[in-house]
């Protein structure tokens, strides 16, 4: 029952919408990214050269791919802390099994993909059937996988695999005009990103978001929750595998490759405006978050900030980015489309309105919040969008300010 009639917006209106979208929590990451890139280019003009810039994308590619994988897990309401260990393990497998034998590249690559899918399967099944919180499962998997890998290799990898295999992460299509070289990593990233966008628009992709938002409703709608959840973990492990393949080429084989990637991925995803706890977010924003994070590090590097101070900056940026999206705008109802947030937004923490299980309008009683009149003012906007959704909702329960950012993932 689509009640709203759409009229063609004028150009000025479109520009205003774009502006608003950029400043919205969903679009803020793109604004941040643009600001950072411009700042880098100002400090170091050679960065803006196409050949340099394409190399920047090459180095961010593994992080962005991992962020895309983590996006699916987080939007489904869970965590995947095992990604770093998966990357390390895959890198070591490549190093040890391929050796210098180019002929083994393809079989080992297939083995790596199968292994990645298997890890994701194990994670997902334990979360779905044994009901262990995903935080715990993936934490245990992280410890166990890393320990097993180090045990297998005796603490040090055999060595870098054959150059043919490493070409994926290091090389590219050379002698191109303008950009000089188009790294394979960039192509792989483009393919993965395109696949992710396509996937998130498919019914299955939307089901993941639905599951993250409200598992009970999703189940009532007939989805097999366990399969959806498990597949998100498989996607995440596979993305870590692909990142591992790229890293083998880029960085070589070493037991410390990939360490900490899960936290980088989660940070990137959160920077991209995806809500921890699931149910909302755009995959491109997650990838943009990865780029923004790397651009931030590069900026700090070029600006000469000592490496010991960078962690503090990273921490501050993370908090500010998430706080921005949580407090300054009301969050949108459903995490799809480029819906501009309602201008009548009550800046109050009614932003996280629908995160909790049943959907809800803004809270009329505001013990800790601000003016009730402003709160009720926002009700019509969600009502319209809700109608457009045409999904059955039980009686609304007043929202809670913090609910959106609750750690729902896991139990």
């Amino acid at each position: 029952m689509t009640a709203v009639t759409t009229d063609r917006p004028g150009f000025g209106q479109r520009l205003a919408d774009l502006g608003r979208a950029l400043v919205s929590p969903r679009g803020a990451v793109f604004l941040l990214l643009i600001v950072l890139l411009v700042a880098i280019a100002l400090i170091n003009p050679s960065f803006a050269e196409p050949s340099q810039f394409i190399r920047f994308i090459q180095r961010v590619a593994p992080v962005a791919i991992v962020a895309i994988g983590q996006y699916f897990v987080i939007v489904g309401g869970e965590f995947d802390l095992s990604m770093g260990s998966v990357v390390t393990t895959q890198v070591v497998i490549a190093g040890n099994l391929i050796g210098q034998d180019d002929a083994k590249s393809l079989p080992v690559l297939l083995l790596m993909l199968a292994f990645g899918a298997f890890i994701g399967l194990v994670n997902g099944l334990i979360v779905s059937f044994l009901k262990v919180p995903s935080f715990i499962v993936t934490l245990g998997m992280m410890l166990a996988l890393l320990g097993a890998t180090l045990y297998w290799t005796g603490g040090a990898a055999t060595g870098n695999p054959a150059d043919g295999f490493r070409e994926i992460g290091r090389g590219g299509i050379r002698d191109l005009p303008v950009i000089d070289i188009l790294p394979w990593s960039v192509l792989v990233l483009a393919i993965v990103l395109a696949a992710a966008i396509w996937f998130s628009k498919r019914p299955f992709g939307r089901t993941i978001i639905a599951l993250g938002d409200n598992p009970t409703t999703a189940r009532f709608s007939g989805t097999r929750n366990w399969w959806v959840k498990t597949s998100t973990f498989m996607i995440s492990s596979l993305s870590a595998t692909i990142a591992g393949v790229l890293l083998v080429g880029y960085a070589g084989v070493h037991p410390s490759v990939g360490r900490g990637y899960e936290f980088t991925a989660i940070t990137a995803v959160v920077l991209g405006g995806v809500v921890l706890g699931g149910g909302r977010g755009w995959v491109v924003a997650a990838a943009a978050g990865a780029f923004a994070l790397e651009a931030l590090f590069t900026l700090l590097n070029f600006a000469g900030v000592p490496s010991t101070y960078r962690d503090a900056v990273q921490g501050a940026i993370i908090i500010l980015a998430v706080a921005y999206s949580a407090t300054t705008f009301r969050a949108r109802r459903r995490g799809r489309g480029i819906d501009a947030p309602s201008p009548s937004s009550d800046p109050v923490a009614d932003a996280p309105a629908e995160a909790s299980r049943p959907d809800s309008p803004t809270s009329p009683d505001a013990a800790t919040q601000i003016s009730p009149p402003a709160a009720t003012q926002t009700s019509p906007a969600p009502a319209e969008e809700r109608d457009a959704e045409a999904s059955a909702r039980p009686a609304p329960i007043p929202s809670t300010p913090r609910a959106d950012n609750e750690t729902k993932g896991g139990s």
Partner: protein, 360 residues
């Protein structure tokens, strides 16, 4: 309306409710001790000798402090990932202020606790006022503290006077003083949760914040208090480490992996990661299980890489045992009608029944 479900609810729900979380952890701990004692005996050592008991209890103390605070935070449905850096910072401030002079000890302790309280307050305010998820907020503050530590401390620093080192070194028989202090704090924590208003409110806020707020609870306050207390207990852990090491160290917190291990211990102890249910004693049990497993593996000289594998498996298996049994995570809103949602792991087959129940 199906007739079997209410009966099964009636039949199973009371039995499930009777399985107390702490009891399960206690049983698991006893089981682990028995297995451990057998394994240790197989390499010719006595599990219950004074030295071994002291090793286990010492291993419990530091993590125990951190885990007690983490329990409070998790009960409120938040997380605290900044604890390792608070631990390191506390040890450094303590050692620097004491500077080998026993007269400085009280000042140093007070200063450390104040700094930790401020950090906890910042965490709490970021979570409640800026509406940032606990995971992200404390990850951020942890990184900020890390940046500060890395920039200003190049290595160990300070000097802890002998009198203060005694806390980490002495004991009553095989039981170290530090463990007794930790248990004392645990008692205080349990009392706080059970008997004070703020403590009770923590359960409410963690369980269902909307309902808590509708019931008239100021939902921000328990959360802020939880974060402050968590940072304070982390500071206590830092003080204990300063006492044991004799100096302050900027990496002692990260060396111990206290963030993820404390969360694992808390969950192992039966506290729900999404808040609202749990107990301090369960957490202590979880910490004890970790300490026993570590001790047994060390005595058996297990390869350090395999130790991590065992730890990972133990964490997941232990929590799985707990979560697959004590299932009553969300009390059904309509007790006679809807089955517990978790029982619906069998998917759509029960979907229609459940929907019918829900409308009843």
């Amino acid at each position: 309306m199906s007739t079997t479900t209410p009966a099964s609810v009636r039949r199973t729900a009371p039995r499930r409710r009777r399985l107390d979380a702490s009891l399960i952890v206690g049983i698991a701990l006893v089981a682990v001790i028995i297995v451990g004692a057998i394994l240790v005996a197989s390499v010719g050592r006595n599990f219950f000798s004074a030295g071994n008991i002291r090793d286990i209890l010492t291993g419990m103390s530091v993590l125990g402090f951190v885990a007690i605070g983490q329990t409070l935070v998790i009960l409120c449905a938040s997380l605290d990932l900044s604890v390792p850096y608070v631990v390191s910072l506390s040890s450094l401030i303590a050692a620097d202020l004491m500077a080998g002079n026993p007269a400085n000890i009280p000042l140093a302790i007070v200063a450390v606790l104040v700094v930790a309280a401020v950090i906890g307050l910042a965490n709490g305010l970021i979570v409640t006022k800026l509406k940032v998820n606990g995971f992200i907020a404390t990850l951020g503050t942890g990184l900020i503290i890390k940046g500060y530590l890395d920039s200003n401390y190049k290595g160990t620093s300070g000097q802890v006077p002998w009198e203060f080192q005694l806390i980490g070194a002495t004991g009553i028989g095989p039981i170290p003083i530090s463990t007794l202090l930790m248990l004392l704090v645990a008692v205080a924590g349990a009392f706080f949760l059970a008997r004070t208003r703020t403590g009770n409110h923590m359960f409410a806020v963690g369980g269902n914040e909307q309902v808590a707020r509708l019931s008239g609870i100021r939902t921000a306050r328990p959360l802020i208090v939880a974060h402050v207390l968590c940072s304070i207990t982390a500071a206590l852990a830092g003080l204990l480490l300063a006492s044991r090491l004799g100096v302050g160290s900027p990496v002692v917190g990260t060396q111990g992996g206290y963030d993820l291990l404390s969360i694992a211990a808390v969950v192992l102890g039966g506290t729900l990661l999404m808040g609202g249910r749990g107990s301090i004693w369960g957490t202590i049990g979880g910490v004890a299980i970790f300490a026993v497993v570590d001790n047994v593996m060390s005595v058996m000289q297990v390869n350090p890489f395999l130790k991590d594998v065992v730890r990972g498996v133990v964490i997941v298996a232990a929590v799985a045992v707990y979560t697959s049994r004590s299932v009553d995570r969300r009390r059904p809103r309509f007790a006679n009608a809807a089955p517990p949602p978790t029982a619906s792991g069998s998917g759509p087959a029960n979907g229609s029944d459940a929907r019918e129940e829900a409308r009843a």
